[in-house]
Amino acid sequence: MDWSALFLSLRLAGWTVVILLPVSILMGRFLAHNRFRGKGVLEALIILPLVLPPTVLGFYLLVAFGRSSPIGQIWQDIFGQQLVFSFQGLVVASVIFNLPFAIQPAQRGFEGVAPEVREAAACCGLSPLRSLWKVELPLAWPGLMTAMVLTFAHTLGEFGIVLMVGGAIPGETKTIAISIYDSVQGFDDRGAAMMSAVLVAISLFAIAVTYALSARVGRRLS
C-alpha cells in the first residue's frame, strides 16, 4: 500500500476542487443565466475533455507545457521550475480535464434557480454579489456540491494524462492510479488490490453523495 501516492492524489484532488470551485460558480452561473451567440460552441469546448481520450490531452499538454514551448518557458521564468513532470503541472492538467465535471453540474444548479427569485432579490435591494451569496448559492449548492464531488473523485482516478505528463515521481507526480499500475507491473498483487479497494470505496462514496444531492434537487424542483 503506497500511502504517499494516496495522499498525493488527495492533495491533487483537493487543489483541483479549490481552483475549480470559483470557476464553476462564475462559469456555471454565467452559462445558466445568459443567452448569446456562440454559447453552444463554448459549452461544447467545456464538454470536450469528457470525450477526448486522455492520451490526446496528455500529448497536447506535453507539447504545450514542455521545455521548448512558450507557455513552458514563461512558467519556468516566473516560478523557476518546470511545469511538466511537477505537481503544479498535474494540477493544471487536472483543472483542464475536470472542466466538464465542475461546470456542467454547477450550471444545472444555477439553472434551477427561478428567475422570479433572482428578481425578487434585486427588488429587495440586494446587490448582485449579496444576491449570489444569500439567495442563489443556497439554492444552487447541491449542483455545486455534485460538481465538486465529481471533480474530486474523477481526479483520484485520472490515469492517462498523469502517466504522460507526470513522469511517476514518488511524492510528486506518482498518484495512486499510477502506483496501482506500477504495483501490477511489479507483481505486487496485494498492494494493487488494496489500493484498488481504497479507490473503489472512495468512488462509491462520491457517487452516493452525488445521487443523494441530485435527489434533493429533484424534490425541490418538483
Binding site: 495522499f7 479549490v18 521545455r67 521548448s68 511538466v84 511524492g171 507491473q185 511489479g186 507483481f187
Partner: protein, 263 residues
C-alpha cells in the same frame, strides 16, 4: 445555510492536502532516478542498501527507456538516467541534456519465459516456440514494445533472427515496457514471452514460470549505460558512484547483469 455546506467542503479539502504538505516536502529533497524497468527489482534493492549504508535516499521512477528519454527532453526533473540501451544516452548527451557520456553499468540478456502450466517449453533456440507456432497452438506471446523499449527491440531482433517474427505477428501482445510484458506473459493469459533475464531471476517473478537464455549473438548487445543529468546534485552523484561499488555490483550480478571485460 450558505456558509455551512460549501464552507465545510472547502475546509475538508484543505485539510486533505495541507496535512500532507510537510511529509511531501521532506521527501522532495531526495533526487529522482529514472531507471529502465528491467532494473525494477535490482535497483530497488541497491537503493535500499544505499540508504542503509549512507543514510541518503533516492526516489525511483521505473519505466521504458524510450519514454524516459522523451520526458528528459521535455524537462523531466530526473537526476540520474539508467537506460537499458546506451544509444538513448548517446543521443541525450549529443543534445546536451547530460553531464557527460556516462558509464556502462551492465550487459543485459533476454530470456524466453513461460508461465507454470503452459504447454510451451522454454528453450534458448526457440525451437518449441517455432514448432507450436507452426501448429497454431500459440494464442498469445508477449514482448516489450519494440519501438521504444530496448528489451522489445532485442526481442524483435532475436525473433527475426530465428525467422519467426512475421508468423508471430497475429499472436503478439506488446507491453509498454519489459515489466508490463512480464506481467502479460506470466499472468496466465499468454503462452509466454521474451523478457529480461533480470526479471526472470527476481524472487517476485522467478517462481511464476520457467525460462531459458536466448543466445546473445541473436541480437545487438544490450549495453546498459547510466548518466548524471545536468541538474544532478551531490546525493545523485553519491548514488551514481555507489552503483559501481562492490556491494551494488554484487546485487546486480545476482540479477544476471554482467560487465564486459575491461570496461
Amino acid at each position: 445555510m450558505t456558509r455551512s455546506p460549501i464552507g465545510r467542503l472547502i475546509a475538508a479539502t484543505c485539510a486533505a492536502f495541507w496535512l500532507q504538505a510537510g511529509v511531501v516536502s521532506a521527501q522532495q529533497a531526495a533526487p529522482v532516478v529514472a531507471a529502465a524497468s528491467d532494473l525494477q527489482f535490482a535497483v530497488s534493492e541497491i537503493a535500499a542498501a544505499f540508504q542503509a549504508e549512507t543514510g541518503m535516499s533516492v526516489r525511483l521512477s521505473m519505466g521504458s527507456t524510450g519514454n524516459f528519454a522523451r520526458q528528459i527532453r521535455e524537462g523531466a526533473p530526473f537526476q540520474i538516467f539508467m537506460a537499458a540501451d546506451e544509444q538513448f544516452i548517446a543521443d541525450l548527451h549529443a543534445e546536451g541534456f547530460t553531464r557527460d557520456a556516462g558509464d556502462l553499468y551492465a550487459l543485459g540478456r533476454v530470456v524466453i519465459m513461460v508461465p507454470n502450466g503452459s504447454a510451451l517449453t522454454p528453450d534458448g533456440q526457440l525451437d518449441h516456440l517455432a514448432e507450436m507456432l507452426a501448429a497454431g497452438d500459440i494464442n498469445r506471446f508477449a514482448i516489450a514494445n519494440p519501438d521504444h523499449a530496448p528489451y522489445g527491440m532485442r526481442a524483435r531482433e532475436a525473433l527475426v533472427h530465428r525467422g519467426i517474427w512475421d508468423d508471430l505477428q497475429p499472436v503478439l501482445v506488446q507491453g509498454e515496457n519489459v515489466s508490463q510484458a512480464a506481467q502479460f506473459a506470466l499472468s496466465g493469459n499468454a503462452d509466454g514471452g521474451i523478457l529480461a533475464y533480470s526479471l526472470a531471476l527476481a524472487p517476485q517473478i522467478g517462481p511464476r514460470g520457467t525460462y531459458a537464455l536466448i543466445p546473445d549473438d541473436w541480437h545487438a548487445p544490450l549495453r546498459q549505460r547510466m548518466v548524471l543529468l545536468n541538474d544532478a546534485g551531490p546525493v545523485a552523484q553519491a548514488f551514481y558512484d555507489y552503483m559501481m561499488q562492490p556491494a551494488a555490483r554484487e546485487i546486480m550480478e545476482r540479477y544476471g547483469f554482467t560487465l564486459p571485460e575491461g570496461e
